[in-house]
Symmetry: C2
Subunit: 362 residues, 2 copies
């Protein structure tokens, strides 16, 4: 087992080229005071040795931070976050910044470990989609020093910082109002866990508000929760097979919606209206296609990255919050009428037959 060989350094290049390390440095950084001839020779040695500068050492000397922007997300497998990352990427590219991503697995302790790891590596900026039940007071000192720290999708807890979020309350309210406008009065709510999660709270508020505005009494039996898609599928089955089932479901996030879709498809129920929060791949491939409130995930990332860049440029003004609207995309599932006409609240008995009697959407 040969020991790991180390990379060549400035010193190695200098020795090989017969010059001082400073001359090598000059050649590499296009500094003016060096003869073209020397530069050429040095660069040739650089090439030959496969020399690459050690960024860590460079940053240390320069006192400055690394030109890497760190993004910490709860779950790599959730396309929502991938899209946010793409938004961030699009902004920082062209600023000679590299995006690195870490996943907290929706656990506050791992999130903190990751954020700290990036801070300790002198990242230029840190963008965080916080995990549920976290506490960000530990970042106060860094914030005070002017470190660009921006939160995305969910605001920080016990910390004031820049933040880019969707107008969850307004969007949820609009989505539920949409169902009400189509005649539904028994509307189920499928939400995240934990219940205290910011987005779930806001969306639930929107749900309650829409109900109230529609003169509909809130029924806690129509509320269910889950975490993974399969949980939501099970919850959906439970909801629609219970006494006095809902005629419509409002799914408060993408996994909830996918779970509901799965359950409805598997049980062959095409009579239950459905509106989901967050668009998702294949939403248009179902029968009927799924109506969603699409968050502008890309722009969420863009807005966050822009705030970070502004901080990086020296802006020490007070923390800002950017709120982005969501867009209702009616595709079919959210426009289904309740089974027995606009005024009936109970669709259980006739639902199945009704579904097969209606012409199928192509």
């Amino acid at each position: 087992m040969r020991p790991r060989a180390s990379r060549p350094t400035l010193k190695d290049v200098a020795r090989e080229a017969g010059v001082s390390i400073k001359t090598v440095s000059r050649a590499l950084n296009n500094e003016p005071r060096i003869s073209p001839e020397t530069r050429r020779r040095v660069l040739q040695v650089v090439e030959h040795l496969g020399f690459r500068p050690n960024i860590l050492a460079r940053n240390m000397r320069a006192g400055g931070r690394d030109r890497a922007v760190a993004l910490v997300i709860p779950d790599l497998a959730n396309p929502f976050f991938a899209s946010v990352a793409a938004g961030v990427e699009s902004v920082i590219r062209g600023h000679d910044l590299t995006l690195v991503v870490g996943s907290s697995d929706e656990r506050p302790d791992r999130e903190r470990l990751l954020v700290t790891a990036f801070l300790d590596r002198q990242a230029a900026a840190i963008l965080i989609v916080p995990a549920a039940a976290g506490d960000h007071a530990y970042l106060r000192a860094e914030r005070r020093r002017g470190m660009p720290i921006v939160f995305i999708d969910r605001p920080p807890v016990r910390l004031t910082a820049d933040c880019a979020v969707t107008e969850n309350f307004a969007a949820a309210r609009e989505g539920v109002a949409h169902l009400i406008a189509h005649g539904h009065r028994r509307i189920g709510f499928l939400g995240d866990l934990p219940i205290g999660l910011y987005t779930r709270r806001e969306r639930f508020r929107g749900y309650r508000r829409a109900l109230a505005e529609g003169g509909i009494r809130f029924d806690p039996r129509l509320v269910a929760h889950g975490h993974r898609r399969q949980d939501f599928a099970a919850a959906t089955v439970a909801l629609v097979t219970a006494d006095r089932p809902p005629t419509a479901i409002f799914a408060a996030n993408n996994f909830a919606c996918m779970g509901a879709v799965t359950a409805l498809a598997r049980t062959g129920r095409r009579d239950i209206a459905l509106v989901g929060f967050d668009d998702f791949d294949l939403a248009d491939a179902f029968d009927p296609p799924i109506t969603v409130l699409a968050q502008d995930t890309m722009r969420l990332g863009v807005a966050a990255a822009e705030m970070a860049l502004s901080r990086l440029a020296g802006d020490r003004g007070r923390a800002r919050t950017v709120r982005l609207p969501a867009r209702l995309i009616p595709r079919g599932s959210g426009e289904l009428p309740p089974p027995a006409g606009p005024d009936a609240a109970d669709g259980r008995a006739t639902g199945g037959q009704f579904a097969s009697a209606r012409p199928r959407r192509q």
Copy 2:
């Protein structure tokens, strides 16, 4: 605009605590030769100042590399890669290593930029899911020095290195043979772009082999390509509405399969059999549910991470390739018979009627 304040250093803590920087260092690293009293006092100052060690400086002195494992993938939004990342994570966690991910956007130039950025930052190991049409000769020197570099899903080009791949050829052959076993003789192929992409080549080979073994003549008109899901949907529509359309489709990757599903759902065709390469979320939510060849994506990541760790531990043996089998998951779509019985090759004329005549799968 106040200038960005810098983090406190060992020196700051030392001054504040009235000790030397070495004493502070001892207190921080739990070194033995320090009085409990001094340690307590130092740690208190550390706490008070919010001091955090500069990892870059530490690593530089220690000569060692950073304890970060870098993973470069072509597309953050593809759940396939997210799952690979999860596999890597599961291995390196517990080795005090942090996973950082970068996305090449399926572009070789960006991939190289990212890989180089991580190398220049002294990453402990680099895992690469290469973009199409890349060239990895530039990594030869690093490999020679013993840098752990592992390729995932697709092998390196013009470079010999550790590699973890799925047995694409065997799996594709099995999938197509499965369709043939169910009576199909006109089987479409939906493949990646570019055509030269390793996985697409291997899977296409498997397709051709299975056809040959089934005594079926290859028909180039049954082959279509695409990149995004919508492309594949369009390609699918073109395939099934052409003269002498296929009675079954083999989709050579997850987006291809999702595209085919979308197209078949939108056009209400439930008579075309479908087998997809790669499992995907919601594959079980369609009617019929989608039969797939599931790659063990998680284990792909695990295998790659294990090779990297072994290199990190000093193993300088020759490059290895780990090949993992895929698993056929029959869910329904791959078991549909051809329209007019096992021997008919042409399903166009009667397909639609046939579909509505068959009982719908629940």
